[in-house]
């Protein structure tokens, strides 16, 4: 393999000092790996000494391993959308009027059986292919919450409260549609800044497919790592005891579980089981946990910032959190009383 430095800055931007260095990323990578292999024993021994650090590593690795198939297949599907599905398909499949495209896209989330890690690159790919952002965002929010696998898991986790499944599906759909319509009214196109991807036009299909796959796995995957690290940290340092004190107040408990859903970043296929075990909390607050979790969490915010840009993520995520919490509280009040 040749290891020449390949500058990744456009010629018309001012050159960074990095360009002058002779060392390329492959050399840095090789050196890093050699150092780590040499010091493997001491590093592993050090980690075992600290149960907190060891548990953190286990949880971090678990979140990554769990998310990996969803990330890879989600990215592969988005590469298929980018390379093999013609632009004209989306024009035909979705209603012309954006306000109508939003509910259609929300309901289309039913067909994507996966968790939230896969839906971010897919939504990015849809926007690139000319789907109106409002519809793509509604799809992004709805898909991980209302697909059959997630709803089945919810039914299994709450055998005595089937209304939880209905509440979750309905509340999630409503939130996705509200956010889509809100985007139509308030959203600005310049907030979304999709990362540069190697231009796919004019390449052979297979090269374009693998180019898109590589780029998106590295990009979305890198942000997934940041989110997984944050989630593992919260998971390990926040003892469940703290939650006990919040559970007694009906309003505080809803807000507490909505925020906990953001911090824990549990995969939407598993969050129902965790919600079931938070038995000291009211059903309404646990519904908020289930509605917020697939739509806003640390790894999602990190991935959204990567795929759509920071200006987008820092507006979209807090708004979604507020809307999702409010709708979940309202739904819970209607369903469980």
């Amino acid at each position: 393999m040749t290891v020449t430095e390949r500058p990744d800055i456009a010629p018309n931007t001012p050159p960074e000092p990095k360009r002058d260095r002779r060392v390329g990323s492959v050399e840095v990578l090789a050196l890093l790996l050699i150092v780590l292999v040499v010091f493997r024993g001491p590093i592993a021994a050090k980690i075992v000494e600290f149960p907190l650090l060891q548990t953190w590593t286990t949880v971090f690795v678990s979140v990554m391993v769990q998310a990996m198939p969803f990330l890879v297949f989600g990215v592969a599907l988005s590469a298929v959308i980018a390379v093999y599905v013609p632009r004209s398909f989306w024009a035909k499949a979705l209603p012309k009027h954006p306000a109508l495209a939003v509910p259609v896209a929300s309901c289309a989330g039913v067909i994507l059986p996966g968790c939230e890690c896969g839906s971010v690159p897919i939504a990015g790919s849809l926007i690139r292919r000319g789907v109106t952002p409002a519809a793509a965002l509604a799809f992004l929010l709805a898909a991980p919450a209302i697909n059959p696998i997630v709803l089945t898991a919810t039914a299994v986790a709450f055998p005595k409260n089937p209304e939880m499944v209905v509440g979750r599906g309905v509340a999630s759909l409503i939130v996705a549609m509200i956010m889509g319509w809100l985007w139509l009214r308030l959203g600005k196109a310049e907030w979304i800044k999709l990362p540069h991807r190697p231009e796919l036009e004019g390449m052979s299909k297979s090269r374009a497919f693998f180019g898109a796959l590589r780029h998106d796995v590295v990009h979305a995957g890198g942000f997934l790592v940041l989110g997984a690290m944050a989630a593992a940290t919260i998971n390990v340092i926040v003892p469940a005891r703290w939650l006990q004190t919040l559970a007694d107040n009906p309003w505080l408990s809803v807000i507490a579980l909505a925020i906990l859903a953001v911090l824990l970043s549990i995969c939407s296929e598993a969050d129902a089981f965790v919600a079931a075990s938070l038995s000291q909390f009211s059903l309404t607050s646990r519904l908020a946990f289930l509605v917020v979790g697939p739509m806003v969490d640390l790894k999602l915010i990190s991935m959204q910032a990567g795929v759509f840009g920071r200006r987008f993520a820092f507006r979209f995520a807090p708004t979604t959190l507020v809307v999702a919490t409010a709708i979940a509280a309202l739904t819970g009040w209607l369903v469980f009383s």
Partner: protein, 242 residues
Amino acid sequence: MNRQAQGVVLLLLGGAVLKASLSDMYLRYVKESLQPFLIAAGALLVIAAVMTIYHDLKKERHEEHEEHDEHGHHHEPRVGWMLIAPVLGLLLVAPPALGAFAAGQSGSAKLQDVDYPPLPAGDPAQISVLDYATRAIFDKGVSMKDGAGQDRKVQISGFLSQGPDGKPVLTRMMLSCCAADARAIKIGMSGRPPEGLGENQWVEVVGVYTAATAKDPVSNNEIPFIEVLEWKQIDPPRNQYE
């Protein structure tokens, strides 16, 4: 990070996922049912890596004069370096399954009332910790009696962690998806409990139902007890979760 380095990272990541999923290592982190998907994802990553490196080398040989054009719009993601972290986690550190520390943090799980089929044949009857705990809490041990109304001997296995009163409890972690959602099932031990063992030591316990219970202060859920008749140390099982 240039494209060749990305190719190498993808190769390492795919290789690490394959290594974990083709051995029993993945069972420390996720459910057994995820294995085929992990293998497929790992394989796809390796293929993507090989194709990336292949296309990159081929292009370098044939299109050197287009170099500047090609690189005009590439700003390759720097965040890609982060992907080395899970590779290191899987290949170098390979952390063990969750143990006593996590069980102490999460507290015992809320269990669900289910149907109770008769215990499996055998004396003692081998059952899971979850099975024992639900039969003890909801069924008050009724389904663990024999025809004559005597408590049958049951055998359960788990690791030791600290219970509410400071004494060791028999513990098993339960996964629904991955270790991030793990919840602990704890069983207190009366009678002749294991002695002189450290936390995280796996033991196999034979005992009978007892009505004693305790409250887990962390989660406020009930911890059932077992009256231990005999115990022995064992190696951790293939799948440490239930």
